[in-house]
C-alpha cells in the first residue's frame, strides 16, 4: 500500500488489532456486568 517501513506497518496492524479486540470484547461481554 505504498509504505515500506515495517515499523509503520506494525503500528497500522496494532491499531487494527486493538480495535478488533475492543469490538470482540464488547460483543462477548455485552450483557455481562
Amino acid at each position: 500500500l505504498g509504505i515500506k517501513d515495517p515499523q509503520i506497518w506494525l503500528a497500522y496492524l496494532l491499531c487494527v488489532l486493538s480495535t478488533l479486540f475492543c469490538i470482540i470484547y464488547g460483543m462477548v461481554n455485552w450483557n455481562k456486568g
Binding site: 505504498g2 503500528a11 475492543c22 455481562k32 456486568g33
Partner: protein
C-alpha cells in the same frame, strides 16, 4: 469563505440542538428514581461517545494532526496506545475498580478518590491545586486548536476567534453545568465521527486512492529540509532515525507522554465513577475503540498526507510545514479550507466546535470542582455540607476560564501538541503510581502515596526547568541561574520526563510502602468491598 450567512445558520442550528439536549438531560434527572432509571437504561453509545468526545479534542485533531504533518505516520503508534491503553486498559482494567472503589468511598472527584483511599486530606488539596493551576495549559491548547480553524475559515483575527470561542463555551458550561452533558457529548461525538470519516474519504479520493497517496508521500522523502534530516527526519512514511533528536521527541514526548498519561487524566477517571454499572463499561469498550480509531487514526493519517496535497498544489508547491509558515497548528485548518469543498468546511467547523466544547466543558467543570470540592469543601468546610461550595465551584470555573484564555493569548505557535503532552506527562508522573496503588495494591501506604506524588511533581518541574531543552530554554530559569539553557547533554535534553520521573515516582511508592505504617485493615476492607 463564500457564504458566512449559511455557516452562521448551521452554527445557530447546532447550538440550538445542544441547548435542547441539555434541556432533555435536565428534565430526565429531576428525581432520584428518574436518575436511577435513566442510568440503567442509558444507551452504551451515549456512554462511550461521551467518554470519547471528552478524550478527543481539537488538540488531537488540529494539534496532533499538524504534528503528524511534521513527524509523519510514526504518530500511528500513538493511535495504537490511544485505543489499547486509553480505551481497552482504561475501561476494562482501571474503569471497573475505579467505579467500585469510588462508590465505596463516596468519592466525587479524582483527588477525592485518592484522598479517601489513602486517608490523606493533603492528597485532595494537593491534587486539586495541581488540576486547577495546570489543567488550563491543556485547555488552552484545545482552545487554540479551535481558534486557529476559526481564524482560517472566517479569515478573522486569531485573538477575536479565541474570544468568540471562549464566550460560546463559557456560556454553555456555566448555564448547563453537568446536566445533559452526556447527551450533548454523544451528539458532539456523532458529529465528530461523521466529520472525520468524510475527511478520510475525501483526502484519499483527492490524492488518487490509498496506495497512490502513500507512494506519493513516500517519494516526498527527498523534500525533507536539510535541517530536519540532520535531526533524524527520514520522510513521512517511516520512523525517524533510531536515537535521533526527532526519534526521542516522537517516541518519548508525543507517543509515550500522551499514550500513558491518559490513564491518570482526572476529567476522564471521574467518569468511571458516574457510570451506573460495569455492564456499560463493557459495552463502551466496543464503541470507544472504533471512535478513537476514527478520530486519531484519521487525523494522523490525513495530517501526514497533507504534505502530498501542499507539494502538488501550484499555489503552495512545498511541504505542509512550509505551506503553513512554520506553524504546525495552522496545517490542518489551511489544508481543510484549501483542499475540501465549501460544504465540508462547514461540517468540519462543527466537528471542531463539537470536539472543543465536549472536552473544554469537562475541563472547566473539573477545574471548578477542584476549587469547590477538593479545596473549599475539604479545607474550609472540613467535609461538612454547606451552601457555599457551589458558588465557589462557579467562581473556580470562571477563574479557570480566565487563566485558560490568558494562556491562549500568550502561548507561542506550534504549541498545541507540546502543551497537551506536558499536561498528560505531568498527570502520569504525579497521579499514576498512586492511582494504580489505590486500585490494585492494598499494601500501599499513605506516606508512599504522598511521597510518589511529590516526587512526580517536583521531578517533572525540575525536568522542565533544567533538563528538557525545549522547555528549559523557553522558561529561562536555568539560563538565569547557571548561565546555560540546560544542565545536561544529548540525549537527555530531548528525553521526556515520563521516561525518568514516572519510574522514579513508581519506585518511590514501592520503597516507601515497604518501610511505613500500613492503613487499618477495616478501612482497606471498606475500600475493596464488592471488588472482584
Amino acid at each position: 469563505m463564500d457564504n458566512i450567512f449559511i455557516l452562521t445558520l448551521i452554527l445557530a442550528g447546532y447550538l440550538f440542538v445542544i441547548g435542547y439536549l441539555g434541556y432533555c438531560g435536565y428534565r430526565k434527572t429531576k428525581t432520584t428514581l428518574d436518575y436511577l432509571v435513566a442510568g440503567r437504561s442509558i444507551h452504551p453509545y451515549i456512554m462511550a461517545l461521551s467518554y470519547g468526545a471528552t478524550f478527543i479534542s481539537t488538540s488531537a485533531i488540529v494539534g496532533f494532526g499538524g504534528t503528524a504533518a511534521f513527524f509523519g505516520m510514526g504518530l500511528l503508534w500513538l493511535t495504537f496506545l490511544n485505543i489499547f491503553v486509553g480505551i481497552a486498559i482504561a475501561f476494562i482494567v482501571f474503569g471497573k475498580r475505579t467505579r467500585h472503589i469510588g462508590h465505596n468511598l463516596d468519592a466525587h472527584t479524582f483527588p477525592e478518590l485518592l484522598s479517601k483511599r489513602f486517608q490523606s486530606p493533603f492528597i485532595q488539596g494537593f491534587g486539586g491545586l495541581i488540576i486547577f493551576l495546570l489543567m488550563p495549559l491543556y485547555s488552552a491548547a484545545v482552545l487554540i486548536g479551535a481558534a486557529r480553524f476559526l481564524e482560517a475559515t472566517f479569515t478573522i483575527d486569531y485573538n477575536m476567534a479565541l474570544l468568540i470561542y471562549t464566550l460560546i463555551i463559557c456560556a454553555y458550561v456555566l448555564a448547563g453545568g453537568l446536566k445533559g452533558v452526556m447527551y450533548t457529548d454523544a451528539f458532539q461525538g456523532s458529529i465528530m465521527l461523521i466529520g472525520m470519516t468524510l475527511l478520510l474519504i475525501f483526502s484519499y479520493t483527492k490524492l488518487g486512492g490509498v496506495t497512490v497517496a502513500h507512494q506519493a508521500l513516500t517519494q516526498l522523502s527527498a523534500q525533507v529540509p536539510e535541517k530536519l534530516a540532520s535531526l533524524g527526519h527520514t520522510g513521512w512514511t517511516s520512523m525517524p532515525k533510531l536515537g535521533s533528536n526527532f526519534w526521542w521527541t516522537l517516541v518519548s514526548t508525543i507517543v509515550m507522554g500522551v499514550g500513558i498519561g491518559v490513564l491518570a487524566q482526572p476529567q476522564l477517571a471521574v467518569r468511571f465513577m458516574t457510570v451506573k454499572s460495569s455492564k456499560e463499561l463493557n459495552r463502551a469498550v466496543l464503541i470507544g475503540g472504533i471512535f478513537i480509531l476514527m478520530m486519531t487514526g484519521v487525523a494522523f493519517t490525513v495530517g501526514a498526507l497533507s504534505n502530498v496535497y501542499f507539494f502538488n498544489h501550484p499555489e503552495f508547491g512545498k511541504i505542509s510545514l512550509l505551506a503553513a509558515g512554520g506553524n504546525i497548528d495552522k496545517i490542518i485548518p489551511i489544508y481543510v479550507n484549501s483542499a475540501m469543498p465549501v460544504w465540508f468546511v462547514y461540517i468540519f467547523m462543527l466537528t471542531l466546535l463539537a470536539a472543543a466544547m465536549s472536552t473544554t466543558s469537562s475541563h472547566f467543570h473539573t477545574m471548578g470542582t477542584s476549587v469547590g470540592r477538593d479545596l473549599f469543601d475539604r479545607y474550609i468546610l472540613k467535609g461538612k455540607k454547606g451552601s457555599y461550595s457551589v458558588p465557589i465551584t462557579r467562581v473556580g470555573i470562571v477563574v479557570g476560564v480566565l487563566i485558560t484564555v490568558l494562556l491562549g493569548y500568550k502561548l507561542p505557535g506550534s504549541i498545541i501538541a507540546i502543551a497537551t503532552a506536558i499536561f498528560f506527562g505531568l498527570c502520569a508522573s504525579v497521579f499514576l503510581p498512586a492511582f494504580i496503588g489505590a486500585l490494585f495494591f492494598k499494601g500501599m501506604t499513605k506516606t508512599a502515596a504522598i511521597s510518589s506524588m511529590l516526587v512526580g511533581f517536583l521531578g517533572t518541574a525540575f525536568w522542565l526547568f533544567f533538563i528538557h531543552q525545549k522547555e528549559s530554554a523557553a522558561l529561562g530559569l536555568c539560563q538565569f541561574i547557571f548561565n546555560k539553557p540546560t544542565l545536561v547533554g544529548y540525549p537527555w535534553v530531548v528525553v521526556d520526563q515520563i521516561f525518568v520521573i514516572l519510574p522514579l515516582s513508581a519506585l518511590t511508592a514501592i520503597i516507601v510502602s515497604l518501610f511505613t505504617k500500613k492503613l487499618p485493615r477495616e478501612h482497606i476492607n471498606d475500600c475493596f468491598k464488592h471488588v472482584k
